[in-house]
């Protein structure tokens, strides 16, 4: 086995152990609720502007780009349904998760990496606080809870962007547009998307924390932690999405 392959499996094993430790520690008191709320504010509320702007542009562009093709086939009336299903099922969750992997994953990776390098994690441990619980558990819980909410809000903003794009060319009312969107959507579109968004949030938090917490000494290590947190978290988003599609299909939701 080549050293790189061995290294890959080693790291995969370490991430699994890290995740196992998270599930053990999250159950046991004391619960760092105050810190979890503070992290949720940072991870959720402070990411809203970026998620909102990106989602709005995605909805707008998706609608503008799709319209000419549908017009060519005389299927312009299907535009709200197509945009709605695309955004709710796939584009909204995946794009917003990728944006969060970039913004939140890198920020957690760099923050924890810097804490490790400057001995803040050791100081916390010597000070009688379990750093894993205080730093890692709170952040993973926050990303797992906040990213689905960001995706939900992002989806709503993207649909509004889609409506504005339709409005530019036609005189369709908001009521008609959203009526068509929600008429074409079923629970089997929304529920798998909601479930997978929790997994996206968990993966982003887990990888950001793992990379930062295990950052090697030095400022170069901090940069590497942030960078690899984004790369691996983004990759995991796609892998989870692929698995979600397979499972959804297997369960007969598609």
């Amino acid at each position: 086995m080549s050293p790189k392959v061995k290294e890959f499996f080693n790291e995969a094993g370490e991430i699994a152990q890290f995740a196992g430790r998270f599930f053990r520690e999250v159950m046991l008191p004391p619960y760092e609720i105050k810190e979890a709320i503070r992290q949720s504010y940072r991870i959720g509320y402070l990411s809203l502007p970026l998620v909102g702007i990106t989602a709005f542009i995605i909805g707008l562009v998706l609608t503008l780009q799709s319209r000419p093709t549908l017009v060519e086939f005389g299927a312009e009336a299907w535009l709200p349904s197509m945009v709605g299903i695309s955004i709710i099922r796939e584009i909204g969750p995946v794009i917003i998760a990728l944006i969060c992997a970039g913004k939140i994953g890198s920020s957690i990776g760099a923050e924890l990496g810097s804490m490790k390098v400057t001995e803040q994690i050791d100081a916390m441990e010597v000070g009688g606080t379990n750093p894993f619980k205080y730093i890692v558990v709170t952040r993973i819980v926050s990303t797992t809870l906040m990213i689905p909410i960001l995706i939900f809000i992002g989806d709503a903003i993207a649909l509004y962007g889609g409506f504005l794009a339709v409005k530019i060319n036609t005189s369709v009312s908001a009521t008609l547009f959203f009526h068509q969107v929600f008429n074409s959507l079923t629970f089997s579109d929304a529920i798998p998307a909601i479930i997978k968004s929790y997994f996206f949030g968990f993966a982003i938090g887990l990888i950001g924390c793992y990379k930062g917490y295990n950052s090697k000494k030095g400022t170069e290590g901090v940069g590497r932690s942030a960078n690899s947190a984004v790369v691996i978290a983004s990759l995991l988003v796609f892998i989870i999405d692929l698995m979600a599609v397979q499972i959804t299909q297997f369960l007969g939701f598609l």
């Binding site: 400057t118 001995e119 803040q120 050791d122 100081a123 916390m124 441990e125 010597v126 000070g127 009688g128």
Partner: protein, 249 residues
């Protein structure tokens, strides 16, 4: 020497610590008595910081024994280790102040966890007392990023003393500071040792700091306790390895 001080509070015997193939501590022995302040001298990378991290259980050791207040560190469970750590202050080389917290919150952090019986007013008074001790009460609401290197060291010292520990471990407290600030920090350490009657292990290669703060010095070479004695005893030794440390004065 032992009659001047109290009972042994840290007993290190035949300590061994390695990182992979790199054997850092081979057979290290050291006893610290109550009220005693010992400086551990050694070249960079010789394992001085590793030694004090083993004492507080931040690093595991492969062989030998470390007893703090009579308890074997390697045998303690997490709860017992946390209780023991409340009696030990640790001043980190980089100060290790929590970046996301103000100076006040940095000091309150350990108090809130270890001193749960304390009221808000008591916590506030303790924090202000410690900051007054280090002359930085005016910096109470500043963030660590707004502090100079010397101020960070002082706050690090105040934070380690806020729980009124019986032992303080200093990891290169004067490294990276100009000579004047380094002397101020050394004087402050001495003052705190006297005021709170702490025992300490000071990791350093700053001989001025060693001269000022130590009752006893120990020279770590090749992972063992190569020589020990008072400052005057060691400075008059002819052994070239020991003498090399005193040439800089």
């Amino acid at each position: 020497m032992s009659s001047e001080y109290g009972e042994p509070i840290i007993e290190i015997t035949h300590l061994e610590k390695s990182f992979g193939d790199n054997q850092v501590l081979t057979d290290f022995n050291l006893t610290i008595r109550r009220g005693e302040n010992v400086v551990v001298l050694g070249k960079s990378g010789c394992g001085k910081s590793v030694l004090i991290k083993c004492i507080v259980g931040l690093l595991n050791y492969q062989g030998g024994s470390i007893k703090v207040f009579g308890k074997e560190i390697a045998e303690l469970n997490q709860h017992a280790l946390d209780e023991l750590r409340a009696r030990i202050g640790f001043v980190f080389q980089s100060s290790a102040l929590y970046d996301s917290m103000t100076v006040r919150e940095n000091l309150e952090f350990s108090l809130r966890r270890h001193g749960k019986h304390k009221t808000k007013e008591e916590v506030k008074m303790l924090v202000e007392e410690m900051l007054t001790n280090v002359g930085l009460l005016h910096a109470i609401d500043l963030m660590p990023s707004e502090l100079s290197g010397g101020m960070r060291k002082r706050i690090g010292l105040a934070r380690s003393l806020v729980l009124k520990p019986e032992i303080v471990l200093y990891d290169e407290p004067t490294t990276g500071l100009d000579p004047i600030t380094a002397k101020e920090i050394s004087n402050l350490m001495l003052l705190m040792q006297q005021k709170y009657n702490t025992s300490s292990i000071i990791i350093s290669h700053d001989m001025h700091c060693a001269q000022l703060t130590a009752n006893r010095l120990t020279v770590m070479i090749d992972g063992i306790n190569y020589a020990q004695g008072t400052f005057n005893e060691l400075s008059s030794m002819t052994d070239p390895k020991v003498h090399a440390f005193f040439e800089t004065i």
